[in-house]
């Protein structure tokens, strides 16, 4: 199957061995979008890699930026001012909304609904992307975070616009769920499809909603408490069966929790600097050493492992891509199901090939 993905997630091929319509063996084939991102990172300065991280998982540029900035801050020992921390959380959670909306929309496309749920999701996503554009200059390739802070300070009007969207969003989610969640076709196609045991999920290093759908309570926002996530009151939704329906439902629930975080962040955001005065972006030469920084991206743990030898370019620049590792168990989930279900299972893992192939 492929290399054109059935719902245009990217170029991805699956070698599938079939018995009738049942899958007996499945091998994913990657690399069609391979740009050797890591080599690029080793041959450019630290700041110059920042716009390239936008292009890893192009739906979640803000969280990629954040993970990279966090790793460099660990490597160089920079502090982040309070306002920038709040801004990062606002951007990160808005990105989570954008990503989950895309996922749910595309999942329904994989199920065969021709575009109606996707366009409803995109209608709301567009409003958030407009905000990103108004702030950072670009809808998706935001290039917003800097080492030790953020690049642009939002105006009060911009924050009010976010508040308006956050206030409206639950209404949209209710409408969306009325339209979809009770739908009998959805239930028939997703319940019990592609179940995954928590033991295998942990051993295979799954992270993010795919892991939590199996009932494992592991959210890096709660575990690492990076940034200032310990100040926020939110729940981590968990699934029960680890099947496709749980993965879908988990994203809807996560969006509701995200709105809670956003409301608190928008209520509490202080005035102040957005970038640490000591931090330096251009011509950065961190001391020799290494650092691994990770955050809970919308798709799972996104981390950057950097080794510095004291020069202006990282000696080693490694991306830990959540989509790539989450694909490890694709075969285990698909064996015994039919071809049509494999498409839905792949959709529910939520991959972006820009990140898988790098």
């Amino acid at each position: 199957m492929g290399p054109q993905h059935p719902s245009t997630h990217g170029v991805f091929r699956m070698n599938v061995a079939l018995d009738g319509e049942t899958i007996v063996k499945l091998q994913p084939v990657f690399g069609y979008l391979h740009r050797n991102h890591e080599k690029l990172g080793e041959n450019t300065g630290y700041l110059q890699s920042m716009p390239y991280t936008d292009r890893l998982d192009y739906l979640c540029a803000m969280t990629n930026n954040w993970a990279y900035a966090l790793s460099v801050e660990k490597l160089a020992g920079f502090e982040v001012p309070e306002r920038a921390e709040y801004l990062r959380i606002i951007m990160g959670e808005l990105t989570r909304l954008v990503n989950h909306l895309c996922l749910v929309g595309f999942l329904f496309n994989d199920l065969g609904t021709s575009f109606t749920p996707l366009l409803y999701a995109f209608r709301e996503r567009e409003k958030i992307l407009d905000l990103f554009e108004a702030l950072s200059g670009s809808r998706m390739m935001v290039n917003y975070q800097r080492f030790g802070g953020c690049r642009v300070d939002p105006t009060p009007e911009w924050l009010d616009a976010v508040r308006a969207i956050v206030d409206r969003f639950p209404r949209f989610l209710d409408e969306y769920e009325t339209m979809l969640t009770g739908n009998e076709i959805l239930l028939a196609r997703t319940q019990g499809v592609g179940p995954l045991s928590p033991e295998l999920a942990i051993n295979a290093g799954l992270t993010g909603p795919v892991l939590r759908a199996t009932g494992v309570d592991y959210d890096i926002r709660k575990v690492d408490r990076y940034g200032i996530y310990d100040r926020f009151d939110f729940r981590v939704p968990l699934g029960d069966h680890g099947d496709t329906y749980d993965r879908y439902m988990l994203r809807i629930l996560e969006m509701r929790e995200t709105l809670k975080i956003l409301q608190q962040a928008l209520r509490d955001i202080p005035a102040g600097d957005i970038i640490a005065p000591k931090a330096k972006s251009r011509g950065l030469r961190p001391p020799a050493g290494e650092a691994y920084g990770r955050i809970e991206g919308p798709k799972g743990e996104i981390g950057f492992y950097l080794i510095s030898d004291g020069s202006a370019q990282p000696y080693r620049y490694r991306v830990r891509p959540p989509s790539f590792v989450n694909l490890t168990v694709l075969e285990d989930m698909c064996i015994g199901t039919t071809i049509a279900d494999a498409v839905v299972i792949l959709g529910s893992i939520d991959i972006v090939l820009g990140e898988v192939d790098r």
Binding site: F30, G31, H34, N36, E38, K39, K74, L75, A76, G77, L200, I202, N203, A204, G205, L206, T207, V216, Y218, K222, V223, D224, R225, P286, P287, A288, G289, E290, A291, Y292, R294, E301, G303, Y305, I307, S308, Y315, R316, R318, R320, F324, V325, L327, T328, V329, D357, R358
Partner: protein
Amino acid sequence: MSSTAELLDHLRARFPDATLELVENPGPAAQHGLRLDHTSARLIATYLREDPAWQLDYCSNVSGVDWIDREETEKVTTTVTAEDGSTAEKVEKVTRTIPGYFEVVYHLYSMARKTSEPVILRLRTANRTDDTVVPSLTPVWRSCEFQEREVYDLYGVSFTDHPDLRRILMWDEFKDHPMRKDYVEPDDYEYEPTPHATVLERAAKHYPPASPAEEGSQS
């Protein structure tokens, strides 16, 4: 430091035969590593996963690192006894070449204990040329499967007992390992008018100036 050092002491007591080494990280992050030898690596990894005190059930990140040959200059002080019996200290600069190697770095966390600092395991190959083998940890953590394949693909490190060691990002017919520091890009230049000096140099190499005889035959 403390937790890695503690872990090291604990492992030394538990596995007296294994050769273990603390790899210090001088940077502000202070994430220190633990170097394992090939024979006991899988044993120790299984122990770390199963032992209730550690429960490192989650292997987050596997990265290859290419450490090229590097030179280290050291000041060596020797005492020279002169003919008259007096001794003088002589300082000499000695340059040694430390041969390069590949390193595979594993970042481990515990999902059961919810640890937020990684435990870092490091495996090293003997050299960068012919003996680039390390034991695979995929039998211990499934999450290493694709990432070790990636290290094999981009660095050329072979993993023994890996269930499916094939290229993953580059195509199967590809020969070299592009993430190695000494990788030379292939000459796949395509004509494109650009003012960049580096591109022009490549263009000149790719399209060597035609000899007059050839030009004559073309016209």
